[in-house]
Each structure stands twice: as C-alpha cells, then as structure tokens.
C-alpha cells in the first residue's frame, strides 16, 4: 500500500510524515514520531489512555486515522507543560498522588484539560462524568477528582 503524505501541527510544531492509509493516529504518534506519551490500553476507544486534543476536540487517537490529521492541530501530553513549568493539572496530579502506575495519567490530564477549557468551574459530578471516558484501575478516581478540583480553583485564580 502506498503511503499517505500528511502535514499537520503537533503541539504547535509543523510536522510532516508518511503513513499507511489504515494506520491510526495513535500508531503514527507512537511509532513514527516517537511521541509515546499517548498509550494504547485497548485500541477500541474504551479506555481513553490514548486521549489527545484534535482541533479543540477530545478524541481517542486510536479511533482516528493518521491521514485524518492533515492540516489540523494535534495536542498531546508532550505539549502540556511549558518548558520546565508544569501545567497546573500536572502539578496537582503530583501533589494529590492522583496516579499510581501512571499509565492512564497522560489520557486523564488531556481529558481534564479539555474539561476545564469547556467548564472552568465544574462540580464533582461534572468532573466525574467529564472523565468517565478514561479508565483508571489503580486509584478508585478519588484523588484524580480532588486533583482536578484543586487545579480548577488554581486556574480560576490565575
């Protein structure tokens, strides 16, 4: 199969790659571009570990084709911190110990960032439903919800 030439923007940088027509954006990010922060937990859009933001929309990158990124803006976990300054969500996840094994963490951070962009002052219930597309098997979600609540209040104050 002939490769598809794609030109896209990832974390603010212009990126060009060749991919197969049936190749997922997740595989492109991980295997072609070395951006392994997005994880494959299921490959079927059920776990959210591969969450990215595509043109302001939260998506599972395992359900997007690499070719579909043409001309669009992709945000991944690798672009969340500014230099050595962590995003408030990243900082609060650390402070609240909102991760144990950490495999779901990039997906949760991206999903939480998207949630707070759309709803800067969410209730506990809104956080729980907003993050219901991301599976965590370690924490029972308690500390994740608290970290997002704390980050939301910091970001409002900023």
């Amino acid at each position: 199969m002939a490769g598809v030439a794609v030109s896209t923007t990832i974390n603010g940088d212009t990126v060009e790659y060749l991919c197969q027509p049936d190749e997922t954006l997740l595989d492109v990010l991980r295997d072609r571009l070395g951006l392994t922060g997005a994880k494959e937990g299921c490959g079927t859009g059920d776990c959210g570990a591969c969450s990215i933001i595509l043109d302001d929309r939260l998506v599972c990158s395992c359900l997007v084709l690499g070719a579909e990124a043409e001309g669009r803006h992709v945000e991944t976990i690798e672009g969340m911190a500014h230099g050595d300054s962590l995003h408030p969500l990243q900082q609060k996840f650390l402070e609240h110990a909102a991760l144990q094994c950490g495999i779901c963490t990039p997906g949760f951070l991206i999903a939480a960032k998207d949630l707070l962009a759309k709803n800067p002052d969410p209730t506990e219930e809104e956080i729980r439903f907003g993050l219901a597309g991301n599976l965590c098997r370690c924490t029972g979600y308690d500390k994740i919800v608290r970290a997002v609540q704390d980050a939301a209040s910091v970001m409002k104050g900023a």
């Binding site: 994880k39 299921c42 976990i77 969340m80 650390l94 094994c101 495999i103 439903f129 599976l135 029972g140």
Partner: protein, 752 residues
C-alpha cells in the same frame, strides 16, 4: 550481617510525610517508559496465533505459507520451544501455557507466533498459518467440571489429597483441608446455624497496560529483555530455564509498569518473544492486544462455596465450616487452598474446618489478583456471618467484635497471631460517623472484614553515596504504585538526610542480586527492610571514615541526624561531620561509600480491614449505585500515607467492580464473549463516590518501623460488604457475584 529487624518504637522525621514521588514528573509529562514505549534498532513486530476453540487436539500446524510471505522473518510453534523443564511439572505447565504443545486448552491459547517487519505483515502471516484441530468437548463451569461426566482436560491428573488414591483421573487436581477442633461438637453447641451456598464469577485484574516486551537474543547467546512485569528476576529465571540459557546471560529490565495487581507475575509472551528473536536474529517487540489480555493472560478463579456457621444465643460462634471450589484454568493451582486458609482468618474459633478443591476448566490459567482467592472466600463467610448476626438479633459489627481474632488466637489456617488489627478496625468502623448516617428509601448499608497474609521474601538492595552527598538507592522490587517514594523516605529517615537527597531506581537483573517479585504486598515492607539494613551498613562506613579523620576509635563515633558525632566530653572540640562532608573526602579516606543488603524479609505482619458501604438499588431495574464507601485498615506504619490511602481506595474500587459488574461471560461454544473494556466494564469515574479511608497503625513487631504490607487487603472485604448492603436494601440475601442488575432483579422477583 548484623541487622535486627525488630520494631523499635522510634519517632520519625521523614517516614509518615507525603512528598511528591520521584518518578512523578516523568509520569505526568508522558516521558515515563512503559512496556510498549521502548524500541530497538532493527526491531520486528511479533504476533501470536491463538486457538479459537476451548478444547481441541492440535493434529498439525502448517506454517509454510506464512514463512514464504515477504517480510516474515520467523515463525515458531511449540517445536521451537523444546521441553527443557526436566520433570518440573510447574515449569512444564508454564511452557505449555506459553505455546500449546498437543492440545489447545482454552479460547485464546497460543499455538504459533510470527515476527515480521511490520504489524500488517505479521497479521497477514497469522492468517496463512494452517492449524488442523480436532475439537473436543469442553467445560468452563467449576461445578460442572467436578462432575464425573465432565470432559477431562488432562487424563494424567488424579486428585491429590484424598485418603485413598483415586483410580480414575479427574478435573479436581487437589483437595486441601485446614482447621482445628471438632466441628460436629461445635455445631452441637449452636443455638443458631446458617448454611448457604455462594458463587462468584471470573474477573480480570484489568490493568490498563497490556503485556508488552522487547526481546533481543544475540548470536553469542546473550540476550536482553525489556518488559512490564512485577518481577523481572523471576521472569529471568523462567525465561532462561524455558529457553535453555544461563540466567546471567539474560538481562531483564523492568519497564514502568502500567498496573499488574498480580496479573504480571507470570510469563506468557516473553519466552515467545525471545524464541522469535532467537530464530529471526533480530530484536522482537511483542505487545498483547486487549482482546488477548482478556482471553489469554491470567484472570481470577470462578468459585462455588458452601458455608455453615453456628453460634450460641450470646453471639459466640461455636463452629464454622466451608467447602470451597475454585477454578484454576487448565493447569493445577493452589487457589482453593488459599481460599480455605483465609476464609475464617478474621475470627477466633474453637472449631473450624475448611476444605478446598482445585478444579481444571477450559479457561485461561488463573493468576494472582490482589489478595488472590481471599475476596471470594470473604464474600461467602462474611455474608453468612451477617445473616447469622441477624438471626441471633445482634448488630453485625458487635457480633464480629465478639468473635474477632486477637493476639494469641490460633488462626483457622494454623499460626498463632501476634499483635493484629481486626479488633481495632472493627471498633473504628463501629465508631465511624458513616455507621450512624441516615439511609433513604431503597438504600442499604453493609460492612465486612477482610484478611490477607502479606509476604516478605528474598530482597537485595544497594545504597550508594555519591561524592556530592546524594544517595542512589537501587532496589529490585518493581515499583507498582509509589514504592520509590516510600523507600526514599526510609533511606532518608535512616541516614538522617532530606528526602530530596535520595534517588531510588529499580535496578535490572544484571545490576543487583535476586529479588522475589512485587507480590504479597511486599514491595515497601521487604525493600524497606533491606534499605534500612543497607543504610545501617553505609552508616557504619561513614562512622569509620569520620573516626579515621579524627583519629579516634569508631566506637566513639555515633550517627545522628545525618552527622557523625564524636561522643564524650574529651572530644568536645570536634565539630560534627555531615554525610556530605564525609562523602566529599571519601576518595582520600578509603574510596566509595556504599551500603549493601541481602536478606529474606521474614515476619510480614498479617493485615486486616473493615469496610462499610451504602448502596441504593433501583427495584424496577436492579441497577445499583454506590452512595458512600469507607475503608478502615491497619498499615502497621504508613510510610507515605497518601499512597497508603491510594492502595485502600484502589482495592475498594476494584472490589466494587467485581461485586457489581465484572465477569467473564462464555458462550456455549466455550469462547469468551466479552474480551474488551466495552463489555467487561470496570468502574468508571462516574460510577463511584469518594472513597473515605482511615489508616490504623498497629506496629508489626517484625519490622524496624512496624511496617505491614498494605496493597492487597483492601480488595478482600468489598464483595461481602456490598453484598450485605444490597441484601439489606432489597431484603433478599444475595448469593451470586457479580450482583448485576439482572441477578438482583431475579433475586427480588424470586422473593415476591
């Protein structure tokens, strides 16, 4: 080695604080490297062909077409993994499970594998492999498999542990029995007796990271394996034995691990990846799909349990009995035995007997899942205990307190307990505000207790002090949820320095002596013991160097708050030397300063918990909602309390999923019908409330700081606590886990 592991009752500076974990930043920035995040030059993609049949004889495998496909570099079958197990039956089972030899024993059993230049070619190659199966009758249900008419999985298995050696083969591999006293006499003294049968369905650990590894075998016989595992030293031993290698020539590096919970304690894909790499002469990356994880890794047992408990009117249990049948998958296990040991471990009983049966079924080989086997036994026993309390007319908490095991109690599985936390967790639960909160319509409250042994095991640790005074701590227990933080705290505590001065890493198998895997809640317990011992050895050297510097006897030098101090008035003019100062001078005082420790961490303190939960049931649909959940558990000493809370919360959440929703569903054809997170639904954020925790600290006398393992016990009580809550909400005793809406509805309707 001069190391005293006994609890000393000291006060702490670092231990008990809550700093940020050392591996944290990498994990929130996407930099941490898990099993599938590692690549090697020239790496191939490995894929496994799996049996679509639950039970089938493999007549022939033709790989010739696959081998001819462009881009395919190796195809292997069982013939490429010759039997080198030399009569070791357990290792033979591992080998056969990695790659079926004569029979496929479950849907998903590996039968062949390929390595190709890319994933698409590998997938295509799998389709070209022709397997000639003779499909055999199968059995997946634990009770059905015990019947004489059931299809036999292995006609060389005759039940062990029976008084008379059986003449016919059986799917029951073993019978075990525990207990003491005379249960007939005990039941004779009872005024009330409750007798019930319970079932639980098979569940999966549900770690979010699928099994993944990169194997590279060189033509000189050395090899590297990068893998997500709970025990890289154990993986090295197993892989080396199965592939006929010397262990020291196989270096295994444990990646960051994306959840294990017992499920990453067994090799499946790793020997296959090594065999593929050996044949192809190139590195091979093998990553399981989620479908493969469900079908072909190691879920829990499904169980069938009968319980009988008798008590006097005053609330004293006079006798307790349980028969436990646990599925093992197609290979022998000791799952029912563990269930039989833990079933009544919370109670002080004069007359108790438990009998376990290990049962073979055409399902994947059972693996450990967080306090393996204990949650199901606790579900049955704690449900019956609740029912018995009700019959007597006693409060279920008071009834448990009255019968709780204490220091000096002979446990139902044999040993006599030291200081234990069952009584204190029950008292704390009784006094918890949760117990007094009002309940609404269709709501029920339940509580239950749980026990887990905990484990210590072989442990080796290195502590190296840099010339700048910073400390590298190399441990061999894989960090599954924050142990690098807790072990750094312990090193800082012992040396009297700041937490930030210590950097803990998990060393690979070539850099450190053997360590058992991170199981049995042993990570922080055992490696902290080895870290304390290593630090004390380093302190001895630090004192020696100070003594040399001062030219005084080492016995006159003490170590306090990170400094060597010359004790006694005669040394009044000697200023204390800091660790940093001693380290800076080390090149001139005898070279590098390090502490090493190798030990068997005996004396893991047993652990108890009591959980309380409130559940609302919709009587029209049978659906449930967890309204409130409280965990009370003894930690011995919480080294990093935030991560201890995390263990309590995580275990409770897994237990909630198990109790209410999760189960393996097999079709009549013996195929797994729900091998994905859509249909095997683990709890999501919106399913759960906050999970309140209360940490009790009853010191373990066999650890210098009093530490007990904390990871597993939290999954033991939830099944029972939730079953008791649902039963109280609907007024019907629930006996089958998971309590999915159809089961709850059926139970309500049966009662009407």
């Amino acid at each position: 080695m001069n190391f005293d592991p006994r609890y000393s009752g000291r006060s702490f500076t670092s231990v008990g604080t809550r700093p940020i974990r050392p591996d944290g930043v990498d994990k929130v920035t996407g930099r941490a490297r898990y099993g599938a995040d590692f690549n090697m030059a020239g790496q191939l993609v490995g894929r496994v062909l799996r049996s679509p049949h639950a039970h089938a004889k493999i007549r022939k495998i033709d790989t010739s077409k696959a081998e001819k496909l462009a881009g395919v570099k190796a195809v292997i079958t069982a013939a490429d993994l010759p039997d080198l197990t030399d009569g070791d039956a357990a290792m033979y089972d591992i080998l056969d499970n990695c790659m079926a030899r004569t029979k496929a024993l479950y849907d998903g059993h590996a039968v062949a594998a390929v390595a190709a230049v890319d994933a698409r070619t590998a997938r295509q190659a799998l389709k070209l492999i022709e397997v000639d199966y003779e499909v055999l009758p199968h059995v997946v249900d634990v009770d059905e498999a015990m019947k004489h008419t059931a299809p036999l999985l292995n006609d060389a298995i005759f039940t062990e542990g029976l008084e008379e050696k059986p003449v016919k083969p059986s799917n029951v591999t073993k019978r075990t029995q525990y207990g003491h006293g005379d249960i007939h006499e005990g039941f004779g003294q009872a005024d009330f007796v409750v007798e019930r049968s319970f079932k639980t369905e098979q569940t999966h650990q549900g770690y979010i990271e699928p099994h993944a590894c990169v194997a590279s075998v060189s033509s000189d016989g050395t090899a590297d394996l990068w893998v997500c595992t709970q025990g890289h030293f154990v993986y090295r031993q197993h892989c080396a034995q199965l592939l006929g290698m010397e262990a020291s020539k196989l270096r295994v590096t444990s990646s960051e691990i994306g959840g294990g919970f017992g499920g990453k304690t067994h090799v499946w894909a790793e020997p296959v990846a090594l065999a593929l790499s050996r044949k192809a002469g190139r590195p091979v990356k093998l990553v399981m799909t989620r479908d493969e994880v469900f079908r072909a890794s190691g879920p829990t047992s499904a169980t069938s349990i009968d319980v009988r408990i008798g008590a006097r009117k005053d609330g004293t249990i006079t006798a307790a009995e349980a028969t436990l049948r646990y599925s093992c998958g197609p290979y022998a296990g000791m799952w029912a035995e563990i269930g039989a040991m833990t079933a009544f471990a919370c109670y002080k009983l004069d007359n108790v007997r438990t009998v376990g049966y290990e049962v073979l079924v055409n399902r994947p080989k059972t693996a450990a899942y967080r306090a393996p086997s204990a949650p199901m036994a606790a579900f049955a026993v704690e449900s019956a205990v609740d029912e018995l309390a009700k019959e007597i007319g006693m409060d279920p908490v008071e009834f448990r307190i009255r019968n709780a095991a204490q220091e000096g109690t002979r446990s139902s599985y044999g040993p006599v307990y030291g200081p234990i936390g069952i009584g204190p967790t029950l008292e704390a639960a009784k006094n918890h505000p949760h117990m007094k909160a009002p309940l609404g319509k269709n709501q029920g409250r339940g509580m239950a207790c749980g026990f887990w042994f905990n484990f210590g095991g072989q442990t080796c640790t290195d502590l190296n002090i840099g010339m700048d005074g910073s400390v590298s701590l190399a441990v061999g227990t894989v960090d599954v949820g924050g142990s690098r933080a807790s072990l750094s705290l312990v090193a800082a505590e012992e040396l009297g320095i700041d937490y930030g001065q210590v950097k803990a890493v998990v060393a690979d198998t070539s850099s450190l002596g053997y360590n058992d895997m991170t199981d049995g809640s042993r990570g922080t317990f055992s490696s902290s013991m080895a870290t304390i011992s290593a630090a004390r050895n380093a302190i001895k050297t630090l004192r020696d160097r100070a003594a040399q510097t001062w030219d005084i006897p080492i016995d006159d030098v003490v170590w306090e708050k990170g400094h060597a101090i010359a004790k006694g008035e005669k040394y009044g003019n000697l200023a204390a030397l800091s660790l940093k100062e001693i380290a800076a001078a080390s090149g001139k005082t005898g070279g590098p300063i390090a502490g090493h420790s190798e030990l068997v961490a005996d004396g893991a303190g047993v652990s108890f918990a009591t959980h309380i939960c409130d559940i609302e049931v919709d009587p029209e649909t049978g659906s449930t909602r967890v309204l409130r959940y409280t965990v009370v558990q003894d930690a011995g000493k919480a080294v990093h309390p935030t991560y201890v809370e995390g263990q309590y919360q995580g275990g409770a959440a897994q237990g909630i999923g198990w109790a209410l929703n999760e189960e393996y569903i097999y079709g009549k054809d013996g195929r797994l019908q729900n091998p994905g997170f859509l249909d095997y639904r683990i709890p999501v954020c919106s399913d759960l409330p906050m999970i309140d925790t209360q940490i009790l600290e009853i010191p373990n006398p066999n650890h210098p700081y009093g530490v007990r393992g904390v990871g597993e016990t939290s999954i033991v009580p939830p099944l029972a606590a939730i079953a008791n809550a649902v039963s109280n909400a609907v007024g019907v005793r629930m006996t089958h886990i998971p309590m999915s809406p159809p089961r709850i509805l059926a139970a309500i309707e049966a009662e009407r």
